[in-house]
């Protein structure tokens, strides 16, 4: 049974008297605890989709259901992690992680202990009292993920979270994410530009078409993790072809890494 359901979700933006259709009739079903990756050309509305599920914006038409209930606005059970870490610069790493607990009214000592434990599990215990500007890009993104996990969300929405870190850090972060996912089993919607990343991480890869975004195809990946490059090769080829078709203006040289 599906846990998160998108039913014919459309989103149209109005700017300077022009209507821009970002998403057109996206329907999607996600099981509880499933790891779903969303890929598609630039500007296909992937980020919009996450914002809608997070409740930061409302769909122009269609419905988003979580456990059968339509979502209304933001909620603690759905957390979005942005492409940039967007940490609060006036809070230490620990207090950033504790922020979601603070909004829930958890007392200071308790929420700090919880935040510290999370940071520790991500190898950042030594940086708990550092401010964001004192951390490296990879550390900041770790803190941002810890901050989202601190409130134990049912649905974790990740918007190209590893796009701005170097390749080595990226692999380490991917492994950590898989570890955390295995331990806590949130439902994950993971937007990425990278085909390899999508295939390495997800149970299922959803391919969106060029603007306005529609679900174009999906790939189911039944293999256990970690997955070898050889296992992934046929999927990579299929995904490459799907994406190449999906972008009418750019042909083969799709804006996909």
């Amino acid at each position: 049974m599906s846990y998160l359901r998108l039913v014919e979700v459309s989103k149209t933006y109005h700017a300077d008297g022009r209507a821009v259709e970002a998403l057109a009739g996206v329907s999607l079903e996600v099981r509880q605890g499933e790891f779903v990756a969303l890929v598609g050309p630039s500007g296909c509305g992937k980020t919009t989709l996450l914002h809608l599920v997070a409740g930061l914006e409302a769909p122009s038409s269609g419905q988003i259901l979580l456990a059968g209930e339509p979502i209304r606005g933001c909620g603690r059970e759905r957390v979005l992690v942005f492409q940039e870490p967007t940490l609060f610069p006036w809070l230490t790493a620990m207090d950033n992680v504790a922020f979601g607990l603070q909004t829930a009214g958890v007392p200071l000592q308790e929420r700090r202990a919880c935040a510290f434990a999370l940071l520790e599990s991500l190898g950042l215990a030594g940086f708990a009292t550092s401010y964001p500007h004192q951390l490296s890009g990879g550390m900041r993104q770790r803190v941002a993920i810890a901050r989202a996990l601190a409130i134990s969300p049912q649905v974790l929405l990740l918007d190209e979270p590893f796009a701005s870190v170097d390749a080595l850090t990226r692999e380490a972060l991917q492994e950590e994410l898989l570890r955390l996912w295995a331990a806590r089993r949130p439902t994950i919607l993971f937007v990425t530009h990278s085909r390899e990343e999508a295939l390495r991480l997800a149970d299922r890869v959803i391919v969106l078409s060029h603007r306005p975004g529609r679900v174009r195809a999906e790939l189911v990946l039944p293999m256990a993790r970690p997955r070898s490059a050889m296992e992934l090769a046929p999927f990579l080829e299929r995904l490459r072809r799907l994406l190449a078709q999906g972008c009418p203006t750019q042909g083969r040289g799709v804006a996909i890494a």
């Binding site: 409740g55 933001c74 957390v79 979005l80 942005f82 609060f88 909004t103 401010y131 500007h133 409130i151």
Partner: protein, 287 residues
């Protein structure tokens, strides 16, 4: 070669500083000392008529006699009280109102024409009305201080609130913050630097306003002392009052900056000035 020079002078850095280079807190004193010296010597030398510009020593002597007579403290306290009261009320009104105005387009739509209408009316232009309304005494002066500062603080904070990074607010909302929590926990800290900047601007304005008010509406205060001294052609006292106003403003501004440094500790090591300071450090090394 230059690397070798660097190395050698690197070790010399601390003693070189102890001998010659001024420490940071001394930097501000040097120009003050120069001004004081010129103030004393130029009139003494006869280059300028001492009746128009009495030397520093005579000005200070006038100050001492005013303090002895007990008059100065009363005037000083009167001005400080008016500035304090008017400024405090202005801050308490302007900071929340500025945040509200910056975050709500609807509110801004209603209020901004009124603000634009009031803006060109300078504080002295309010004085006649303030006297008609409140008579002579503290009340009109406090009113003038309030009117003259509230708008400046409000407009500055509103524009800063409009440019708060929306992604930080989104991050807070997605982490379960209510709208009120988002304002209190995210918008307010984001505005910290802007608020302190506006507080400092407002404080300087408050002193300007209280002078304008005291020159007409009251019989006490530094502004009154100033006008009275002019009427009696006591140039020393005129200069004395101006110096006191300047010194008070300087002291209060320092106080606000210290407070800012304490409240906004997280900003340490973030500012662009630190980069330039590092650059200067290099130059110090090669000296």
């Amino acid at each position: 070669m230059s690397a070798g020079l660097h190395q050698a002078s690197n070790g010399d850095r601390a003693p070189a500083r102890a001998l010659g280079a001024p420490r940071p807190w001394m930097r501000g004193l040097l120009p003050l000392a120069v001004v004081a010296l010129l103030w004393e010597l130029v009139p003494q030398s006869g280059l300028v008529d001492a009746a128009l510009l009495p030397p520093l020593s005579r000005t200070l002597a006038a100050g001492v006699s005013l303090v002895r007579s007990g008059a100065l403290l009363g005037h000083l306290w009167a001005s400080v009280w008016r500035v304090g009261a008017g400024y405090l009320v202005a801050v308490l009104v302007a900071v929340p109102a500025g945040i509200g105005l910056g975050l709500s387009r609807r509110l801004e739509g209603y209020v901004s024409p009124v603000l634009a209408l009031l803006r060109p009316i300078s504080p002295p232009a309010w004085v006649p009305l303030a006297i008609l309304w409140f008579g002579i005494g503290d009340a009109p002066a406090i009113f003038i201080v309030f009117v003259g500062t509230v708008q400046a603080i409000l407009v500055g904070i509103a524009s800063a609130a409009r440019s708060v990074d929306r992604r930080l607010v989104q991050a807070a909302l997605t982490l379960g913050a209510s709208r009120r929590q988002a304002v209190r926990l995210v918008v307010l800290p984001c505005l910290g630097p802007a608020i302190f900047g506006q507080l400092r601007v407002g404080l300087a304005l408050a002193w300007m306003c209280v002078m304008a008010a005291e020159m007409v509406a009251v019989r006490r205060g530094l502004g009154y002392l100033l006008i009275e001294a002019r009427n009696l052609f006591q140039t020393e006292r005129v200069l004395l009052c101006m110096a006191i106003i300047g010194a008070l403003g300087l002291g209060l501004d320092r106080l606000l900056r210290t407070l800012e440094g304490m409240v906004l500790r997280w900003q340490r090591g973030m500012g662009a000035d630190e980069l330039f300071a590092a650059g200067r450090g290099e130059q110090d090394l090669s000296r």
